[in-house]
Symmetry: C2
DNA sequence: GGCTACAGTCGAACCGGTTCGCAACGGACG
DNA sequence: CGTCCGTTGCGAACCGGTTCGACTGTAGCC
């Protein structure tokens, strides 16, 4: 592999001159620049990333920490990852993917060893163990997901409170008076999946304010349990005319469950989910839903992170906490409740 | 951040001694080793990855190239990625995720700049543009997917020919005499998705050998097109009693389509898919299927890649091309054909 | 004509590790 | 008591970039 020394020799200049000719950080005569560029082409020179990182203290790599936990719905994560990855590349950064079960150790490893210039954290928990480590790291961090304590990091998330209100409002306006909210498994909540109860609390509150009955239940994240949970819910609350589904696996299982019970949406039951449009199209989910905009959140996180890395924001500039406003995508799965 | 120089000073030894004490590559007295280790702990020393890469020409990072193309089913890729990522970590390697649309440029970039010690290529096409670049790279490569030319790389893939035969045999044994094979969109085939016609050709051949009729058709990879395609298929071939589904999106859309037509599997139609068990459970797909074992393939690829990186295989040792034998997972969606 | 200013280039130092060659030391042995 | 050898540690070089300070030559200016 050619080094910059080889390039310099071929062009008949010193190493430093070759370096300046390529970086443009000092004035270089047109003639020399041409010779250097030609040498680069002939030798197929590419700078050694490790050497450059050592010299500049910049790796042009962003660490992406994604946890794939039991009881969590993996495919939803993919879209966040792609949003992050694609945006990073547009801005000239590569992605170091860390799917380690032990996120804290992994985070410490890649920050301390200076493998990355910044960190994006996915599925952030209410009290995320990784946060203290991230704060003490030399690199800036951006989160997708809202923790209890946001100091020292930039935070991006869907406005789950508003999402809960929008879902309830939508069914209330159509005339529904008894609905159920299908949430994530208990495990996810216990683990600190704050978005679950952020949406749920807001939905409960909105239901109370409008005087309608809302049954919050949780359902599993996999078959066959999730099907069983959905059936149990419909058995337990026969008066329910609307379903708010805040659980991707449940949304995916719902068509089959409804079919087996001889029910149709929206004639027998109105359904509103909370997942991305991309997700709905990929899995043929026919329900209206709150768009969760994962690619957009990933994009926002990386943009801000890179601004911090490149010092475009003063180090003392306050960190941002930004919420994306949820939007309802109508797929025709809601209507007036059946009149019993 | 503490350097090895700081550690050496704190322990009262030279830099080289500190290095040897930590690597164990030379004999060091117990006393000195203790002092060095203590200094490491006190200073919170972690070796700088860039510096180490520069000195050792080893980054302990594996490049993972995954293309997310139009008309391809993204979530299936996730499982390959996780298999690769988790296995790599177990073996001490991190993953540089490259989801670049321009795979060739990205591949050249990360190999030439020595960011990675090896490369894993996902969704490999029949004549993959990335392959010549990978062969000319200094780092070894492992593929998941079978290209036309396997020289210079280790290749792992499902035995799609056998998969096609197993699917046809299965329905033939149950008494079916007219079946359809739902493949990927034409685009995927044109792009060089060899697995599509490897399975298809073998299925056609098996059908001919057993004297049964097989209609090969392709279907889109997204809603609403895939639903339309499935309906068109069932309209065009009313005599079909069995469906072989080699298209994840079609499998995901099938329950709804069958429901709308008032059909049930296996009573009205036998269905066999080709996707992973994990996939089936996540999306509540009720059909028997050929297990595609994505995590296993990813794991095999990384294992072999690391063996090459670490020189456990002689450089001239022939490269392997290994096929995983498909297995049918019975979910009760097949039976004897309805007697018309 | 002498001075300054500046464009253009070079040499050397540095980033933070690893590794090779060598020397000092102490014990065993003849 | 001298020699030989194994153990242990040190100094220096090296990996491949970047960057700072200094030096040279030429143009512009008074």
């Amino acid at each position: 592999m050619a080094t910059i020394g080889d390039v310099a020799r071929a062009a008949g200049v010193s190493r430093s001159t070759a370096s300046y000719a390529l970086s443009g950080k000092r004035a270089i005569s047109a003639d020399v620049r041409r010779r250097v560029e030609e040498a680069v082409r002939e030798l197929g020179y590419t700078p050694n990333a490790g050497a450059r990182a050592l010299a500049t203290s910049q790796t042009m790599v962003i660490g992406l920490l994604a946890q794939f936990l039991e009881d969590e719905f993996a495919p939803a994560m993919l879209q966040y990852m792609l949003g992050v990855s694609n945006t990073a590349r547009e801005l000239g950064y590569d992605i170091l993917l860390v799917s380690d079960a032990d996120g804290t150790r992994a985070l410490r490893r890649i920050t301390d060893s200076r493998m990355v210039d910044g960190i994006v954290l996915l599925n952030v928990a209410e009290r995320d163990e990784r946060l203290p480590i991230l704060r003490s790291a030399a690199q800036p961090g951006a989160l997708v997901g809202l923790p209890a304590d946001c100091t020292g990091v930039d935070v991006f998330d869907l406005d789950f409170e508003e999402a809960g209100r929008v879902m309830v409002d939508h069914l209330h306006r159509l005339g529904h008076r008894e609905v159920a909210l299908v949430s994530q498994p208990e495990h996810v909540i216990e683990r600190g999946g704050a978005y679950v109860w952020r949406l749920q609390n807001a939905a409960v509150e909105a239901a109370r304010a409008r005087g309608i009955t809302l049954h919050p239940v949780s359902a599993a994240a996999h078959q066959p349990d999730v099907g069983r949970d959905l059936n149990a819910l419909l058995d337990a609350h026969p008066g329910v005319t609307g379903l708010l589904v805040h659980n991707e696996a449940a949304a995916a299982a719902l068509p089959t469950v409804l079919h087996e019970r001889g029910l149709t949406a929206p004639e027998d039951l109105s359904v509103v989910g909370r997942y991305s449009d991309e997700f709905a199209r990929t899995f043929s989910l026919p329900y209206s839903s709150i768009e969760s905009a994962p690619d957009r959140l990933g994009r926002m996180a990386v943009r801000q992170l890179v601004r911090r890395i490149e010092g475009e924001v003063a180090a003392d500039e306050p960190h941002v906490v930004r919420f994306v406003t949820p939007e309802l995508v109508d797929r025709g799965s809601t209507g007036a409740p059946r009149t019993t």
